[in-house]
């Protein structure tokens, strides 16, 4: 099976800092792949490159075999790649439900001329997606808060909302930047469960960044390790765990972190 996502020889520098240095990785369809590495390893930069938020200095990104590097974030998103952010970007002065409705693709009501020409089509779509939005919110138990401002949610709830909102875009691939950070442990476990179910039931593919090694190891099929902008190891969790290079670069650096 050909990979759903491929990043080849990605290079990205900011001023004098080489954030990503010839990183190559691939994500198989229907897999849960974890991207780990110490702070500053280039994980988030790689996410930004893949999702169109940053243009690579060189290298290419392929989604389902199609080149997507250099495309705008919205064009990448429309091709089925949804991403979340390290600090969740809840649209705070909009309701939780509005956050969800906004994410629905192919909405005729979002085009001014169609709003005038075919107002019925917009209303129909709005009803459709409203049902779907409430259903998805129910899965993460946010349906009771649908009418509240997203800005009133806790950090963990915002993470959930962002994940659920990303699902609303009907993605093929979800890039989750530290989905468990700041989420309380019970909720985090539910979240992992949800990710597994989505993979099983809907065939979704996940690439997630996380710091919590144990969590990552238990949920992922494959683990990719980055350090100083490079991919230093990739394989099953067991393989990666026993890789001396990983223990050295990642665990060594991790052990040195305060707290």
């Amino acid at each position: 099976m050909s990979p759903l996502l491929e990043a080849r020889e990605i290079r990205k520098r900011y001023g004098g800092v080489v954030a990503v240095d010839a990183a190559t990785l691939s994500v198989e369809p229907r897999s849960i792949t974890a991207l780990i590495g110490p702070n500053g390893a280039g994980k988030t930069t790689l996410f930004n490159v893949v999702s169109g938020f940053a243009r690579p200095d060189s290298g290419s990104v392929l989604l389902g075999g199609e080149r997507i590097d250099g495309r705008t974030p919205h064009a990448v998103a429309r091709r089925g790649l949804a991403r979340t952010f390290q600090t969740p970007k809840a649209l705070t002065r909009m309701s939780v439900l509005e956050n969800m409705l906004l994410a629905a693709p192919r909405h005729p009501g979002e085009q001014l001329w169609r709003l005038v020409a075919t107002p019925g089509a917009g209303r129909r779509r709005e009803r459709e997606i409203r049902e779907r939005a409430l259903e998805l919110l129910g899965l993460v138990r946010l349906d009771g808060l649908a009418g509240d401002y997203a800005g009133t949610l806790s950090g963990g709830q915002r993470k959930l909302l962002e994940l659920t909102r990303a699902l609303m875009t009907e993605p093929r691939l979800l890039l989750l930047d530290e989905p468990m950070a700041g989420v309380n442990p019970t909720l985090a476990l539910q979240l992992l469960d949800r990710i597994r179910t989505l993979r099983e039931e809907q065939g979704l593919t996940f690439l997630l960044i996380d710091h919590d090694l144990d969590v990552v190891m238990s949920v992922s099929d494959r683990v990719i390790v980055m350090n100083e902008g490079r991919v230093i190891a990739a394989g099953t969790p067991a393989e990666v765990r026993s890789d001396p290079q990983v223990a050295d670069a990642y665990l060594g650096a991790h052990a040195g972190e305060p707290g």
Binding site: F53, H74, R93, E98, L101, L102, A103, G151, M168
Partner: protein, 325 residues
Amino acid sequence: MTALSLEFWAFVGVIAGIYTILALGLQVQFGFTGLLNFGHAAFMAVGAYTMAILVVKASFPLWAASLAAIAAAIAFGLLLGLPTLRLRADYLAITTIAFAEIVRYVAINEQTLTGGPVGTIALAGPGRAASYNAEWLDVQRTVQDWLEAVIGDHATRDVTMLVIVWAVALVLLVVVDAALRSPWGRVLRSIREDEDAASALGKNVFAYKLQALALGAALAAVAGLFFAFQFSFFSPGDFDPLVTFFAYTIVILGGTARNWALPVGAVLFGLIFAGTRFFDFTPFTLFDSADRAYLRLIVIGLILIGLMLFRPQGLFGKREEMVLE
């Protein structure tokens, strides 16, 4: 014009109506999309001048010149937006200020085109300068006849103007409000909240910003047209940066992103704007009337400061929205 005459209140009302339309344009751009347009008055100027020039110099019929004026404002909006809307918000703000000043200076210096600093009265000589006005008066007279049948002698020219301006303002409010409540408006608000989130959800942020800028410019042009009709002659000074800030005052006064607060804000503004003429008692009589006219600027400034201190969400805004991060 006495303080309590119908003419006076009609005048206040017309100003308020024109500013409602102007502020509605800013509402779309700033209130909903978060675009910092500090050159709004220039779009009003483009509307007014394009209409006047086309009627006087190119003998366009009034309706065609008015449509062309709105189209010109939209074109200027796109011209301004294309290079700047991809940049950070503050760059747009700076560029709009520069744009507004360029428009004003062109109006001052291109005397053969615009009539220069004295205004449209010098556009094509005394006889022809007012030709757009003549055609407008015909329109107004038709409406006035129709009004007379309903309200009799009260249907003066000023009252007729009041009715026309507010009829247009209300129709525009209803239409724009509906658009802003639609899923289209939801995308605009998401851009105001967080551009990156909007684009990560597949929204073409740039295209929506352009649409907001263009729609706002068109509304400013409509306000400019009515300004031209109301005052017959106008000059570059009528579109100085202060006008933009008056529009901001109205948007903020009512409560940002509250459409139905706009007419209330505009009427309040109109009262303050025209109301300093009532300051004919001590200590205000220490100033001559020209100085007293400037008092309104101070009053408007004080009201804004007071509002920011005690009711930052505006008269009709929701305080809870102010504290959300």
